[in-house]
């Protein structure tokens, strides 16, 4: 029997399942199953490195421990601060660059390519080379800052005041192009006749920006920030390479702490509870955010 004949009798539904089947299977194997397993583990005192020791059910103990631990809240604060500043800066600079590149000028395409380059690099590589840029003795960053304002030698990575800014600067440098590209797509979708009508109505450039450009580009910007927010909540590699979470714990984000608890201390049960809490947090915030975004779109 030919293959053609064999599949001839399949219904549309069956063909549909045939197409999505592999994806669903993969999703179940590498996303859903680990999630369910982690939830199960979060109620036990399991240590993955303690071979032969059977995990025991401990109820909500791990959750209570995570939520009552002062250090965890410190990491969450560090993460929140990192997210706030990176998203704010990326929104402002990204939108600004998009507005700039939306104009037609010589070299526009070359400039766009150059601006987009940082986001094509590996975060770990970015982390490593920024440690050199931040070096107080030979780093370019200190040199540039001192060129404009003589601050003397300062250590961006070694100071607990400056280190959080060090990671914000690098993330902003790397990911602003992403926000810019999404905003640029939004700007290019605004029909020209709206501006022509505004001109006829003698609207100023500022009014055109406030009443036409911003509302049109806002859903795009919010979408970009949603992606960046989720990514930065999970930020790990770049920060580990740059500061290792230090000095002390000044830049130890929740994800870095989670990795240490799970794969260095091997507190599998405890870290599963922490992971579930982080998942619920990001899932909850994400849902609220999407609802707000949809409402803005509907206006």
């Amino acid at each position: 029997m030919s293959v053609k004949k064999k599949f001839k009798g399949l219904s549309d539904k069956a063909v549909g399942w045939l197409f999505i089947g592999p994806t669903v299977l993969l999703l179940l194997a590498i996303n859903i199953y680990p999630l369910v397993y982690a939830i199960k583990m979060s109620f036990t005192n399991f240590y993955a490195n303690k071979i032969g020791r059977e995990p025991q059910f401990v109820g909500l103990k791990n959750y209570i421990k995570v939520l009552n631990k002062e250090a965890i809240w410190e990491k969450m604060q560090v993460t929140a601060s990192f997210m706030f500043w990176t998203l704010l800066l990326q929104a402002i600079i990204g939108l600004g660059l998009a507005l700039l590149l939306n104009r037609k000028f010589k070299g526009n395409e070359l400039l766009t390519t150059l601006i987009v380059l940082p986001m094509m690099l590996s975060p770990a590589v970015v982390g490593v080379f920024w440690t050199y840029l931040y070096n107080p003795q030979v780093g370019l960053f200190n040199y540039v800052v001192n060129f404009f304002y003589d601050l003397g030698s300062f250590d961006m990575i070694g100071s607990s005041t400056l280190a959080p800014w060090a990671i914000v600067i690098v993330d902003t440098w790397m990911w602003t192009p992403f926000t810019m590209l999404i905003c640029l797509a939004g700007l290019r979708s605004v029909p020209n006749y709206l501006y022509e009508a505004a001109e006829v109505d003698r609207a100023s450039k500022w009014q055109q920006f406030i009443y036409i450009t911003l509302p049109s580009v806002l859903p795009f910007l919010l979408l970009a920030l949603l992606f960046r927010g989720i990514e930065n909540f999970k930020m790990f590699d770049m920060v580990v390479e740059l500061t290792s979470g230090g000095p002390g714990s000044a830049t130890e984000l929740a994800s870095i702490n989670l990795k240490r608890e799970a794969f260095e201390k091997w507190k599998t049960g405890y870290s599963s509870a922490f992971a579930v809490i982080l998942f619920v947090t990001i899932f909850g915030f994400g849902n609220v955010y999407v609802k707000v975004m949809n409402k803005i779109k509907e206006r």
């Binding site: 005192n45 240590y47 993955a48 490195n49 303690k50 071979i51 032969g52 931040y134 070096n135 107080p136 003795q137 780093g139 030698s153 250590d155 990575i157 070694g158 100071s159 607990s160 580990v240 500061t243 290792s244 979470g245 230090g246 000095p247 002390g248 714990s249 000044a250 130890e252 240490r260 794969f263 260095e264 201390k265 091997w266 507190k267």
Partner: protein
């Protein structure tokens, strides 16, 4: 075609059957071992493949491999602190029967290294490794700068004693701060490159060099795991405060997350007068002295007591290996006194008494006497199976105090004890 395939396949199986894989950290001694091992292959026909992992990832990579019962390695040169986990969780093969059968006696090796690298429980006669690489934290200094008459007289005038190998940590601080910010040969120099690394074990290895010298004990010798008043004793607090002072007054700018390689780089590039590092690096440093640089070496200075932070590793057979017999053959060969002598000659640090007690040993290199001195006074971090859980809180709390300048030394040590109690309780030790 089929015959060709079968013959190729059988060749590959045969060649695999006569090869083993050894895992270690990627550093100078590993290259020396690779060189030495050529003789083993020539003698036995057993190929040895090496997998060297950079230090920052070494513990993660190896411990994950062991926890997952991986078969990548047949032999592992693991850190001294891993011996507890290796024995308790069954990652390492117990070597007592093998040693008895082959006539390998642990009394042929330096007692401090046998205790530190081979035994679990500590002090017992259960051996899970052969001492492979003796090591301790020590210091290198710019002897060429120290010998300059103008610097010598200026230092003596300022401090009332000679510029030279520091007799204690106070003198070390005097000397380091003497060089801090000083211009030598038209370049700005700094005092000392000390361990400040946050991610793995760096700052702990550094600060304990001071804490041991001040007389810190981890626990009550009569009541195991009772740390209150020992680990946070006034002497221990003073040592941690001193380490912070050393960092603030003497470290080069930007030296806030530095360990072995960063210390070496700072020293080799001529930034600093002193570097804290492991003996393992001294052959390289000594060999690479150039451009007028002459290096001197000395053991960790004493303060209240003579003590040094233990480094080094033992070589173990991995329980999950399918080639344990070949791996044991390697250990048998490596334990031979003539091989141990070659190991030292190539830049490895032998722990064999025949090598260490040889009359020519102390003068065989400029750092040999320091090594002998250090190995007699070494102290190690916890070697418990939970050592990583014990290490991480110390890394964080000490880095927070020393580099970040947050809180007090006493507060940092109290916080560490709090975390350690939790770890020992979870492990059923308390």
């Amino acid at each position: 075609m089929i015959l060709l395939f079968v013959s190729l396949f059988s060749f590959s199986v045969n060649s695999n059957a006569k090869s083993i894989t050894l895992g270690w950290a990627a550093w100078d001694p590993a290259n020396a071992l690779q060189e030495l091992t050529k003789e083993f292959t020539a003698e036995t026909g057993i190929e040895v493949n090496f997998e060297f992992v950079p230090w920052p990832n070494f513990a993660d990579r190896m411990l994950n491999e062991l926890n997952n019962k991986g078969k990548t390695f047949d032999l592992l040169i693991g850190d001294s602190q891993w011996i507890g986990a290796g024995a308790v969780y069954g990652h390492y093969v117990k070597l007592n029967d093998f040693f008895d059968k082959e006539g390998i006696s642990m009394s042929d090796f330096s007692p401090a290294t046998v205790y530190a690298y081979s035994t679990w429980p500590k002090g017992s006669e259960n051996y899970y490794a052969l001492p492979a690489m003796g090591d301790a934290l020590a210091w290198a200094y710019r002897k060429d700068w120290f010998d300059r008459p103008e610097l010598k007289s200026e230092f003596k005038k300022k401090h009332g004693y000679d510029l030279g190998v520091p007799a204690n940590w106070n003198q070390l601080h005097d000397m380091c701060s003497f060089f801090q910010g000083r211009e030598i040969d038209g370049q700005k120099r700094y005092g000392a490159a000390i361990n400040t690394e946050r991610g793995s074990e760096g700052i702990t290895m550094g600060v304990t060099a001071a804490m041991y010298a001040w007389g810190m004990e981890y626990e009550n010798p009569n009541k195991p795991y009772d740390m209150e008043g020992y680990f946070n004793s006034p002497q221990a607090v003073e040592a941690v405060e001193f380490y912070r002072k050393l960092y603030e007054d003497c470290a080069p700018p930007g030296h806030s997350d530095a360990y072995m390689v960063a210390n070496l780089d700072a020293y080799k590039s001529g930034q600093v007068a002193f570097q804290m590092n492991w003996y393992a690096f001294w052959p390289g440093v000594s060999k690479e002295d150039s451009g007028g640089r002459v290096s001197g070496f000395f053991a960790n200075p004493k303060q209240n007591v003579a003590a040094a932070t233990l480094g080094g590793q033992g070589i173990s057979v991995v329980k999950y290996s399918d080639k344990q017999d070949l791996a044991l053959e390697y250990i048998k060969w490596f334990a031979r006194p003539d091989v141990q002598q070659k190991w030292w000659d190539l830049g490895g640090y032998s722990c064999h008494n025949d090598v260490l007690n040889s009359p020519s040993f102390p003068t065989s290199t400029v750092y040999a006497q320091g090594f002998l001195d250090s190995m007699g006074i070494v102290k190690d971090f916890w070697q418990e199976p939970t050592f990583v859980e014990l290490m991480l809180p110390m890394q964080e709390a000490i880095h927070d105090y020393v580099v970040n300048g947050k809180g007090t030394a006493k507060g940092a040590l109290d916080k560490i004890i709090e975390e350690w109690v939790e770890v020992f309780e979870a492990d059923g030790k308390l």
